[in-house]
């Protein structure tokens, strides 16, 4: 009887156990499989392309939506799936996805990270497509990202920093928009004496901080070809003069590039070191008269020519459609006009950049002048591809420590040189 009972229990328990194992296995498999919204063509639908980007600003998101609408209108039955991935997670997600041979069809990423992503195997070489591209000659070499002889991405526009100013505050303080560092310092003294904020920028201890720091560091003669402590020390001392006088708040060490612009757009700060991609935000949020002048960094000063790179994911299920998307949106004159209209991005194509919408716009003209006078490759060519991420973090952390008052200019300069030496020698 006992045996019968035992058998019966065993018989009944087997399906339960099997079911439990099946559910566990299903859960495990579900966990291992990228979600349909994140993976490229995981649904096997050849008429859908997935685009990963990190835009959260309303105007920048509009560009993505406009490109989706444009491409879907021109290509019947095709669906574009725009997927937001936070800036800080995009690179790691892309490189991690390589292990499972997944990822998006199209990647829109920080152009400076092109080599990191290419080394990590997250981008497919687009050399053949690029070589066969009819409008290739419209693009300057500085916006094409290559590594070890292969093209991996190109930029549909160029972003760079300029000095935004609040004309009402400058008029009230009786100063003109500055063209030199001395004029900027005088203007900062005047506006802070009038009870206004001086300048906003990002001091975040990462790549955004480095991007914002470099124009000021280079204006004192610093460069990555021959890094020296003396110009760094001078630059850091100048920045600490700003924080000491109250012209620059130390709170900027917690700000990414969006917060300082919103702070400036609120109307109580005279200057903002920020980019052309903020044109849409300025139009919608700034309720005062404003303008832009090139960053007053002198002849030695360099302003990075940044912007997002666009490439094809290494494991795209539909690379041909992905390339068609890039051709018809980011790399087309029509697509670049959309980005110009929505966010004020400076087109990378020669024909689009010479359009009256660019040359006649006083704001864009200032950025174009900065591009011509002080534009520099981003990242600096002297930084080896393997060391770019390290170099950006090292500079960003020291920049943050200087603004936060954590280090003296001398110590900060010495530490940064010590950090950079092994990286630049890689």
């Amino acid at each position: 009887m006992a045996l019968k009972f035992s058998r019966s229990r065993r018989t009944r328990s087997l399906p339960l156990i099997g079911g439990a194992i099946a559910v566990s296995a299903a859960l495990a498999l579900t966990g291992c499989t990228p979600s349909s919204s994140g993976g490229a063509g995981d649904n096997g639908d050849s008429d859908t392309i997935t685009v990963w980007h990190y835009f959260s600003d309303e105007n920048q998101v509009k560009v993505m939506t406009d490109y989706k609408d444009l491409f879907e209108k021109n290509n019947d039955g095709v669906t574009v799936d725009n997927v937001f991935v936070p800036y800080d997670q995009l690179n790691s997600k892309l490189i991690s996805a390589v292990g499972s041979k997944t990822g998006p069809d199209v990647v829109v990423f920080n152009g400076a990270d092109a080599s990191t992503l290419a080394l990590g195997g997250a981008l497919a070489p687009i050399t053949d497509q690029w070589d066969g591209f009819d409008d290739k000659s419209e693009f300057p070499e500085s916006v094409v990202h290559s590594l070890e002889g292969d093209v991996y991405a190109a930029q549909g526009y160029v972003n760079l920093l300029g000095l935004w100013y609040n004309k009402d505050i400058l008029d009230e303080a009786g100063v003109q928009p500055p063209t030199t560092m001395d004029e900027l310092n005088s203007a900062l003294d005047a506006v802070t004496a009038a009870g206004k904020g001086g300048i906003t920028l990002s001091g975040l201890p990462q790549s955004q901080g480095e991007w914002q720091a470099y124009p000021w560091l280079s204006s004192f003669g610093f460069n990555y070809d021959d890094p020296q402590a003396a110009p760094l020390e001078e630059a850091f001392a100048a920045i600490q003069d700003w924080t000491a006088s109250g012209a620059l708040t130390r709170e900027s060490v917690t700000w990414d590039q969006t917060v300082p612009f919103q702070t400036w757009a609120a109307g109580n700060v005279a200057f903002a070191e920020n980019g052309n991609w903020q044109i849409g935000t300025a139009r919608s949020d700034a309720k005062f008269n404003y303008g832009v002048v090139p960053l007053p960094v002198g002849e030695d000063g360099q302003v990075y020519l940044g912007g997002e790179g666009q490439g094809i994911g290494a494991f795209s299920k539909n690379p041909e459609l992905a390339w068609k998307y890039l051709e018809e949106t980011y790399f087309s004159a029509e697509g670049q006009a959309i980005a110009l209209k929505d966010v004020g991005s400076i087109p990378s194509r020669g024909d689009a950049a010479s359009a009256p919408e660019v040359t006649d716009d006083p704001i864009l003209k200032a950025f174009a002048q900065s591009l011509a006078d002080n534009g520099a490759n981003y990242p600096a060519p002297a930084v080896p591809a393997e060391a770019v991420a390290d170099q950006q973090l090292a500079v960003g952390q020291v920049w943050s420590a200087v603004i936060g008052g954590q280090m003296t200019p001398k110590d900060a300069a010495a530490k940064l040189i010590a950090d950079l030496e092994p990286l630049l020698a890689k």
């Binding site: 194992i21 859960l27 080394l119 943050s400």
Partner: protein
């Protein structure tokens, strides 16, 4: 427990009859096999999602793994990653920050949790409301919680507006951008997030004290402080030990609040071991070095996990 007792009873009965002795071990063995089969899904789950990643982490920590080599065979480099992490100068300060951070979160989390539990151990509508609010705070994602506190602690935020408004300080307090305050501020916000959980557990322990004990104490003339000190505190001591270990582990692996509120800054003032590990692995793409730092953290947490397991067993034995 009851299943074991039921199984033990027939064992004595059947062993008296030689005819049944052969059948009983088979039944017992089947029963054990059945139990093992039931444990199998959980075991497989643990193997895939806990032990395998841990083993990979260990292997990664002794290998040269970068963005370039992540998806190719990993070259064994011994202790190079551990040595590299230590010699680059960021490991020791991060360890110091972690210790300070854990201390603050544990002390505030436990004292705050107990105080809240004592205040909420009554059954009024107000305590029910506050309890509900605390559960809400506890359930908030850390990223949301951290972002809200980042605004509150800003120069123009609510906290600084109150401080300057009532004249406590002529200027805004640099909560998140001064190296003397930044770590403290993030740790206090982290404590704020852990207090509700600790309060809920403490409250359950306090409600377990028989009401007659309090009545007897009151008849003997004990005041509220004496009740707390001589009755509640001794009664919740085993719970405190378990919560202390849990809170320490929670604080030790805390990453999200630092990521959202300071990103390790100003400079590296709020870099803790988990955040340093993140920077090394996912910003610098030196996965090997990031794994080495993570292994150090795991080992430290493992020690705490052993203490936790022993304290739970000891509490069960006492109860």
């Amino acid at each position: 427990m009851s299943a074991d007792l039921t199984a033990a009873r027939p064992s004595r009965r059947l062993s008296a009859s030689p005819g049944h002795t052969r059948r009983f071990p088979r039944r017992r063995s089947l029963s054990r096999r059945g139990k093992l089969l039931f444990a199998l899904p959980a075991g497989v789950f643990l193997l895939i999602f806990s032990f395998f990643p841990l083993a990979q982490l260990g292997r990664m920590s002794v290998s040269d793994v970068s963005a370039r080599t992540l998806n190719s065979p990993w070259e064994f480099v011994g202790a190079d990653n551990f040595v590299g992490s230590a010699t680059q100068g960021s490991l020791v300060p991060a360890f110091g920050n972690t210790v300070v951070f854990v201390l603050i979160v544990t002390v505030i989390g436990l004292i705050g949790g107990l105080a809240a539990a004592i205040l909420l151990s009554t059954s009024t509508w107000l305590s029910a409301f506050v309890l509900g609010l605390m559960v809400f705070i506890w359930a908030l994602p850390p990223v949301v919680n951290g972002s809200v506190w980042k605004f509150l602690l800003g120069d123009a935020g609510l906290i600084n507006s109150i401080i300057t408004g009532i004249g406590l300080s002529p200027t805004a307090v640099p909560f998140l951008y001064d190296e003397r305050f930044a770590l403290l501020s993030v740790a206090i916000v982290n404590s704020w997030a852990v207090v509700p959980f600790n309060a809920l557990v403490f409250r359950a322990a306090i409600l377990g004290i028989p009401g007659e004990t309090f009545e007897a104490a009151r008849i003997d003339g004990a005041n509220r402080w004496q009740e707390i000190w001589h009755m509640i505190v001794p009664a919740v001591r085993p719970t405190t030990l378990v919560l202390a270990v849990l809170t320490i582990v929670y604080a030790f692996r805390s990453f999200d609040f630092i990521f959202v509120m300071t990103y390790g800054g100003p400079g590296v003032a709020t870099n803790t071991l988990p955040f340093l590990s993140y920077l090394q692995a996912f910003v610098r793409f030196d996965f090997g070095m990031g794994a080495a730092t993570a292994v150090i953290s795991v080992l430290l947490v493992l020690v705490l996990a052993v203490i936790y397991a022993r304290s739970v067993r000891s509490e069960e034995a006492h109860s």
